[in-house]
Symmetry: C2
Subunit: 355 residues, 2 copies
Amino acid sequence: MMDAIVESRELHLRLDRLRSRMDECGLEGFLVAGERNVQYLTGKSTGRALILADDAVLWVRDLYAKVYSSTYSQKKYPFTVREMEKDAVKKFINRRRIRHLGVENVGVLDFQELKKSLKPTLCPCDLLGDLRATKSEYELKMLRASAEIAKRGMKKAFSLIEEGSEEVDVVAEVEAAIRKLGSETPPFDDGMLLASGESSADIHARARKKKIAAGSLVVVDLGARYCGYYSDMTRTMPVGKVGRKEKSLLEFVDNLREETIDWLAVGMKAADVHARVEKRIEREGYRFYHSTGHGVGLNIHEKPSLSSMSTDVLAENMVFTIEPGIYVPHGYGIRFEDTIILGKKKKENITRMKG
Amino acid sequence: MMDAIVESRELHLRLDRLRSRMDECGLEGFLVAGERNVQYLTGKSTGRALILADDAVLWVRDLYAKVYSSTYSQKKYPFTVREMEKDAVKKFINRRRIRHLGVENVGVLDFQELKKSLKPTLCPCDLLGDLRATKSEYELKMLRASAEIAKRGMKKAFSLIEEGSEEVDVVAEVEAAIRKLGSETPPFDDGMLLASGESSADIHARARKKKIAAGSLVVVDLGARYCGYYSDMTRTMPVGKVGRKEKSLLEFVDNLREETIDWLAVGMKAADVHARVEKRIEREGYRFYHSTGHGVGLNIHEKPSLSSMSTDVLAENMVFTIEPGIYVPHGYGIRFEDTIILGKKKKENITRMKG
């Protein structure tokens, strides 16, 4: 359980930001159902939250209503906690004078249901996704702590990867180490990625019962979760003596990551950053098969998206990855990934490893 | 990589089922975008698939187009694999004579985008969720294999849980064991659950850096993933001498699970099964804080849902959990969970442990 006092102050700040965005959008209310969005606003990852200009309610199952009341000082906690009885949220909304109610990007079938049962005009939008893209000081602290665990996990991986070690064994040991170092979950949703030799050319390859061969490249993509906040980093390790081409590409991708981070600045279009990285890779004679990066926070993938279709603009205190990669089908893959805190004047690479 | 020949035959069966459902619903086409639904139909977890009465197309990124063509015999594989170029899917759909196009329960914002760019009338529905609820022989085999790994993981947990062992250490060791036993991922999305003492009363409690005390109950909820298929099981272990009340409740919940499994039959309403379990728990003087069970397959939670709001009816070859639980806030929690294959005449408990 986190410190409730720090959290309450933090939660009030988040609510204030949401309310001023609601005001700009002409919304009298906002209904929050997505697990991570509920967690962002309420500090708890279960229930439904409704935010009005002068009120904020969190509906939870009876079990949690009891537990929450005792962990939060009722005075400081910005939400009234209510029990989630049948139709409780619906009835509450329909009794209030709300003309325009913001809702999240819920499934279209769920949206149609909501539309039938609620009086206000529903306005689907991603206000919270936008707000969550720029982090508070508190969040930056958690993200740094999460990155520290990831870096120590990566060191562990380096120490285990050698000719003859089995992919799956390395993954099992590293994931266990990351847990013991303080991560709340294994890396990401499906565990860390480790792919050696030919399978490193597959972006989503999973570790197999396969020995790592001398002369191969090993892509290691991992992270942690600390107080709800993810971290994400990738390194590509040569095992034994690798070919001259592989060696020069390793250097190229590693440098491209570094250059891109140096070059980045507040105010740039995320799509432009991606276009630049893509151009550099294509000039080398390869195609760039994925996006340049993604925001990291309470989700492992969130805004901003650094991809060709993105409309995001890079802003102060955004936290995102930079991950150029080159993949040669049936050959090998190379990816380097760091997570960056974008400052007004400087960039902080929170997954940089010394030495 | 799975056996491509078995897979192609299996994929043809799945496509046939979808096509006859499409026919019943008056749909000339169905657009598939959800990762697990794409995986179910195509055997690959990336891309977009379009199913027509006489055609099936899978669009993937160029990298995969190359890899897939070489792993599947083009003759047997039911999909034409195309490269996902900009607007490729949209253009293809708009050139065909499709009046009604089925789409999945995508986000309402994405649905609005689709509606703008596609000519056919869009019909959001969950045909694939319904189809996936009843499993093929091939799927049952994978689910059994996944459950075998889970059971061995549970045995490992039993061997490590004792007075003085740290929750997080046990979790790290068990997750590593599950990986080494052949699971493609750590359990579930966020790793296994292990909660001792007071935190066992929280359904979603995560393991902490906390020693397991004598006289406490430990809830262990874990599973595996094998060839894409999940497994799910829970046991509650008393450590040392526990109170008489806890002891009798342990027996009660364990028996309730057993009885419910015995009592289940094809044709029952899922909501009725839940109501029966809830009634038994309430008669004991407690509230039942979660649903009785959920389908297990390519997702850890899928149809059917055994809960009060469910409209699902239990059918042959559905695979789902039965997981009664009692939680005493600030006290302790007890849950027993098994995964069942529902047969016409008998039920197979694939997570039953001997002894």
